[in-house]
């Protein structure tokens, strides 16, 4: 967009700025409070300090786990579930888009229902199942649950991408002598690559920001992730340290911001769908 036309949009910009002002202020104060000694209820920042970031090199309190364990857990949690979701969606989406197998219609309908289903209502059942399996309060348990809940969306998105790949490409590949699997790997996958990229980022971010599942299914400190770590900061103490809370919050949000900055274009694909040669 050229400069003059963006000026012409000023009434829209003004309205949007006003509406998002509260959010902007909150974000701004997260940053200000993390680096200064601004007390709760005051607006003017006081002394500039880095001491709220002490959690990076020492435990914030006695018996509290290190932030690095929580970060590693969060990363394992988000990366594993993103990887599994992507791999299963890549194959399941292809099957649903292209192969004629028994009960295909049932699976398609089930996918939409599950996608729209408020999965949180299943939490008690999931809790019981995990306990029976001995996976309660383990990272792997939460990963399994998160992956399962994330799959319907992932499969649906990948199916949409596969649907845009012309049949003729596959027919041509088969005629050229390649097996169905080779056709999928060499000819179809490159066409859905934007979807693959978007899905892996999307599910990673979704895992990174997940709070309810780890909170309910893995409340112990062993499997603590950043969101539950953050929660525990203001839960236990009678006198909550909000500056520390905001500093950890910034630390927690930083990777998300970085991912958005670098992969914006790929993430937008998930809404666009489809490929152009």
């Amino acid at each position: 967009m050229s400069a003059p036309s963006s000026y012409r949009n000023w009434p829209i910009l003004l309205v949007l700025s006003l509406v998002s002002l509260p959010l902007m202020i909150m974000c701004l104060y997260s940053v200000i409070d993390a680096f200064t000694d601004t007390g709760p209820g005051t607006l003017l920042p006081a002394r500039v300090t880095l001491e709220h970031f002490r959690f990076l090199w020492e435990p914030v309190a006695e018996g509290r786990g290190s932030i690095w364990t929580a970060t590693a857990n969060t990363f394992i949690f988000a990366a594993t579930s993103a990887l599994v979701v992507t791999m299963v969606s890549l194959t399941a989406g292809y099957a649903l888009s292209r192969l004629n197998f028994p009960a295909r219609g049932f699976f398609l309908a089930g996918l939409i229902v599950l996608h729209a289903f408020p999965t949180i209502t299943l939490i008690i059942a999931i809790f019981l199942i995990l306990q029976m399996l001995g996976l309660y309060d383990t990272l792997i348990g939460v990963i399994v649950v998160k992956t399962a809940l994330e799959l319907p969306l992932g499969i649906w998105i990948m199916k949409g991408f596969y649907d845009t790949v012309p049949w003729e490409i596959e027919m041509a590949g088969v005629q050229d002598g390649a097996s169905r699997a080779a056709v999928w790997w060499h000819l179809v996958l490159p066409q859905v690559q934007p979807g693959l990229m978007a899905l892996i980022l999307f599910s990673f971010l979704s895992g990174w920001s997940e709070y309810i599942l780890p909170q309910v299914l893995a409340p112990g400190s062993e499997a603590q992730v950043l969101s539950t770590y953050l929660n525990s900061l203001i839960l236990d103490d009678t006198k909550a340290d909000f500056n520390l809370f905001k500093a950890v919050g910034l630390f927690y949000a930083a990777p998300v911001v970085v991912i958005y900055l670098f992969f914006q274009k790929h993430l937008m694909n998930i809404y666009g769908g489809g490929t152009k040669g």
Partner: protein, 332 residues
Amino acid sequence: MQLDLIDFTKRFGNTTVIENMSLSVHSGEMIALLGPSGCGKSTTLFAICGIHRIDEGRLLFGGTDVAHLPSQSRNVGVVFQNYALYPHMTVAENIAFPLKVQKMNRIDREKLVRKYAALVHIEALLERRPAQLSGGQQQRVALARALVRQPDFLLLDEPLANLDAKLRLEMRSEIRRLQQETGLTAILVTHDQVEAMSMCDRIALMNGGRIVQYDTPTAMYAAPEDQFVAGFLGNPPISFLSGKGLGLAAPGVTQYGIRPEAFGPQFGEGVSGRITFVETQGREDLFDVQLPTGEILRSIQPAGSGITPGTTVDWGLAHDQLLRFDQDGTRL
């Protein structure tokens, strides 16, 4: 290699699309599967290359039954209507793909790619991607990719449908040249009778899931088996009349077929009517002549006659070129 399709039947669900169809293609011959859309010509093509399963019947490649072999083991090269090039690969990679699947080594692969790129005149485009090519160039790449694995048969599914008029003419002779140079047995699927007649040794004209007539273009044009064949071949099309307006009558004949070149002043007089429409085609003019009975006869004449709509003319018929049909539409 000789191709024989024997008693081929294809069903989709409960609908039988093609029933007991038989077709033989001699080695080195190029034939057309011609017919209106929905006649089953593409279905037949896809059954031959293995994309559609053959429900009943046999398919012989050089005498060996391949009906139950998957596409991959049939060694058939196919050119699709929209070319189906692989968009993420360069032209060279596209052509090399069938060889790569065969695990041929790089040096032999490159040699063959070069050879076939030269054959279809696209040596200069090898590093480009399909999106950077024109329709005609994409078509050539598709041809090279189909030919590079030295297939037993070349199948072409409406290969010229997506090209503009000028390119279509060029590719028509180009495809025929390639087929003759390589000596391949080829099957062309098309709905365009001009394409079929100009490119192929024989035409199998299909309608409603069966072959109505299978003959050389000349024989089919001169001696169509029935009214459908007569009406499908020829441009401008043939006119069908009851014979009353022509002053003709013969036992059993209900319809006369008169091609536009069989009616005109060069054949004397005898049929008079009023010119209702003149279409100038440059070298020739096409006239619609309305007879007193209301029926329309078409005539094609060299341009420059100066005859305008509204004129009454008295022209003659070439009686030896008349086609006579009985009430079932069969030619007598």
